[in-house]
């Protein structure tokens, strides 16, 4: 849209709504957008959970079909004044009221908006909090075609017995999204995605269901026994603002697709089963094999990085929470540490593979306990303790002794040899043939 030619010397840099929506939703995949939406519920639950830190009693229900997509939760809802001033703005204000939830996962202020625009052309957001409630009902194409960046809001009187919570209901689903929602595997995929990303919260009591089926919890596990001791280092960085914890060791199941590094920011999984140079593995295109490129010999390897901070803005996640921000200082700090912690484990796994001793590893992990990764004792270096198999079997040995010179010289003459060694060999064979036979 163009502004009328102005008499002053400025150019029109007004954002177009269509452009904005496209930028917001482009390159974001549906599952990531949905998880981002669920992060809002998580943050609400965190705000409501207070000092106990558990989410028992809080739930989030996701239901969808090709016609609509709905998320309902009882995680506290959005206060009316927040809704009016901040919740629907694109991006965050730099004020205390709009700062991220301490220790939360909402960071960029776009999660809800992105999901709404991504999924459909009509959305309804209804929320109730502390006696106030509101409803925002928007037909997107109609809104996009007029000038203001405001949404209409109504405030119906809250009716009991609703709990404080939020409902997001999207209809007029976009055709491409409709296609995805209609595929049989989407629910399974979404469940797996939500489980891996939000599994830690589920383990703390948050109930999440998708089309009625509860999502199982997921806690990072690692093997611990006298034969396999994970590395576990902990450090407080960024002036005490961020707690860094790195744990690495073996998993019980030799599952190549699950091997690699897992990075959590405030318990939200950002990177899962990563085996790329991002987390310190070799580049598959490299010829130099000294840097371990991922190989199935390493299929037991699990590494976990836990970054926790009351200030989510300090954590190294990208805007869609699907990857690490490679420019962040935290990332550059942890990468060499991850590599250093990983190498002794990979060397040992490689050595075992070379010795054809992989079944020793299997034995070690099956007889170990699988425990929560952050519960293992602190240790700077990971250890796998097994008996190294000698690669060569010795077939010969030395015999060493002294005898008087004169006797040795006489024996040499008698045997017709010139070296002491030949005397030794000949005399041994002489005896062996006669007394030990064949």
């Amino acid at each position: 849209m163009t502004a009328p030619a102005a008499a002053d010397d400025t150019v029109n840099a007004d954002p177009s709504k269509r452009f904005f929506i496209e930028m917001l939703t482009k390159d974001v995949n549906l599952a990531a957008a949905i998880s981002d939406l669920l992060d809002n519920s998580v943050d609400g639950a965190k705000r409501a959970s207070g000092p106990t830190g558990t989410f028992t009693g809080k739930w989030v229900h996701v239901t969808f079909s090709e016609e609509s997509f709905t998320v309902t939760d009882n995680c506290g809802g959005i206060p009316l004044d927040i809704a009016k001033k901040y919740a629907f703005r694109f991006g965050r204000e730099d004020t205390p009221d709009d700062s991220p939830v301490p220790g939360g996962v909402g960071r960029f202020g776009v999660g809800m908006k992105r999901a709404l625009f991504k999924i459909g052309d009509h959305f309804l957001v209804r929320s109730r909090n502390a006696g106030t409630s509101f409803e925002v009902d928007v037909d997107v194409p109609a809104w996009a075609s007029h000038g203001t960046w405001k949404f209409p809001l109504v405030t119906p009187t809250p009716t009991p017995p609703d709990e404080d919570g939020t409902t997001v209901h999207i209809t007029e689903v976009h055709p491409t999204v409709k296609q995805v929602l209609g595929t049989g595997s989407f629910q399974a995929q979404l469940t797996a995605d939500v489980r891996s990303k939000l599994g830690q919260y589920i383990s703390k009591g948050l109930e999440i269901s998708i089309n009625g089926t509860p999502v199982q919890s997921s806690v990072p596990l690692i093997c611990l026994s006298s034969h396999t001791k994970p590395a576990h280092v902990q450090e407080s960085i960024v002036g005490g603002l961020v707690d860094l914890r790195i744990v690495a060791g073996l998993a019980q199941k030799r599952h190549p697709a699950s091997a690699g590094w897992y990075v959590y920011c405030n318990e939200r999984l950002i990177l899962g089963a990563d085996r790329t140079p991002v987390t310190g593995w070799g580049d598959p295109s490299d010829e130099e094999r000294e840097v371990p490129q991922y190989h199935n010999d390493f299929a037991w390897f699990r590494g976990f990085v836990f970054l926790t901070s009351p200030r989510p803005d300090q954590l190294p996640w990208n805007t869609t929470k699907t990857a690490l921000d490679l420019d962040s200082e935290i990332y550059r700090y942890i990468r060499p540490k991850m590599q250093a912690i990983m190498r002794p484990l990979l060397s040992e796994l490689r050595r075992a593979a070379r010795e054809q001793a992989s079944e020793q590893i299997t034995e070690i992990v099956t007889s170990a306990d699988e425990v929560a990764a952050d519960s293992v004792p602190l240790a700077a270096v990971a250890q796998i303790i097994r008996t190294t198999r000698a690669r060569t079997v010795k077939t010969e040995t030395n015999i060493l002794y002294q005898r008087p010179l004169t006797k040795v010289e006489r024996a040499k003459k008698s045997l017709g040899v010139t070296s002491n060694r030949a005397v030794g060999e000949a005399t041994f064979e002489y005896y062996y043939d006669r007394e030990c036979g064949n």
Partner: protein, 313 residues
């Protein structure tokens, strides 16, 4: 890769021997400011263990770790171990370094036989990320390559197309241009490693790197050594002045290297020259017939040069 100790008798590398002593001289300077006697020494050994011998004798370090990458040399290394305080670790530095813990500052000299590659840069990353301030690290590489093909090979070995490989270096002798490229790459990596470490720490914990060593020398092939001290930034005002690095002529802070050359002189000539040293000018030896360039070389290293045949027991 055949260990270079199998092709060259290490006791016969005079230039290396001189470099080693210069390195110890630099460490003595560090000892003026830091409690060096409590440090650990980590090095790559050959059965000759010369750096271990020299360092234990000169600096009395009691915690020494030797890393030997060649397989099945354990028995020979153990047999040749010169002192009780040396722990032997078998494996490549890439595998062994991550297994060490760094509770005290250390002197780490990674005296590689071969050229720069990605794994060695990762060794450096590890040192930069784990060494305590007050530590000294050195890296020695073979730089016996030149020509455009060498730069392309280097770029592919280290795997990064944006490294400053193949700079022009008009002031550098052509055989050493490659060495300068390697120096630049390693230096950049050091800076990056320090920035990465400081990025998440408050200013009072920030560390800095003070280059001490930049040597070039030739034995059977051209070699480059570089390294220095990692220190708290605040040490620059409080501790470093005590070290008085400036009085150790053999140290180099920047891109200009010290080329270590071993003179070829008879024992008698050496004793003759010693009586004239130290002196501000190179002694005139026309009457004695000693070649001036050998005299110059000798004057540069005379304190580190054996005056008689040295035997390592």
């Amino acid at each position: 890769m055949v260990g270079s100790f199998e092709t060259i008798n290490f006791a016969l590398r005079p230039t290396k021997s001189i470099e080693r002593k210069m390195i110890v001289e630099g460490l003595r300077a560090v000892a003026r400011g830091y409690a060096l006697d409590e440090y650990r020494y980590v090095g790559l050994a050959s059965p000759y263990f010369q750096d271990f011998s020299l360092i234990h004798r000169s600096l009395d370090l009691h915690d020494m770790v030797s890393i030997e990458g060649q397989e099945d040399t354990g028995a020979r290394m153990e047999f040749n171990r010169p002192f009780a305080c040396i722990t032997l670790k078998e494996g490549m530095t890439h595998d062994v370094l991550p297994q060490l813990t760094w509770e005290r500052p250390a002197i780490v000299w990674l005296d590689y036989d071969d050229g720069l590659d990605k794994a060695k840069l990762e060794d450096l990353d590890l040192l930069l990320s784990q060494l305590l301030p007050g530590s000294v690290f050195l890296l020695t590489f073979s730089v016996h390559r030149d020509g455009q093909a060498a730069y392309e090979r280097l770029a592919s070995d280290i795997g990064a197309p944006d490294y400053p490989v193949g700079g022009d270096y008009p002031d550098v002798e052509s055989v050493w241009k490659y060495a300068r490229a390697v120096y630049d790459i390693v230096n950049e990596r050091i800076t990056a490693g320090i920035d990465a470490r400081n990025g998440v720490q408050p200013p009072e914990s920030h560390i800095a790197y003070r280059q001490m060593y930049h040597f070039r020398y030739r034995d059977s092939s051209r070699m480059l050594t570089l390294g220095g001290l990692l220190h708290y930034t605040s040490d620059a005002e409080t501790i470093l002045p005590r070290c008085r690095f400036e009085i150790v002529d053999e140290l180099r802070k920047g891109a200009e290297a010290l080329e270590v050359k071993s003179p070829k002189l008879t024992n008698r000539e050496i004793r003759f020259l010693d009586r004239l040293l130290p002196h501000n000018e190179t002694p005139d030896t026309e009457e004695e017939g000693i070649p001036a360039e050998e005299v110059e070389k000798y004057v540069a290293v005379y304190r580190y040069f054996p005056a008689f045949v040295e035997a390592d027991f």
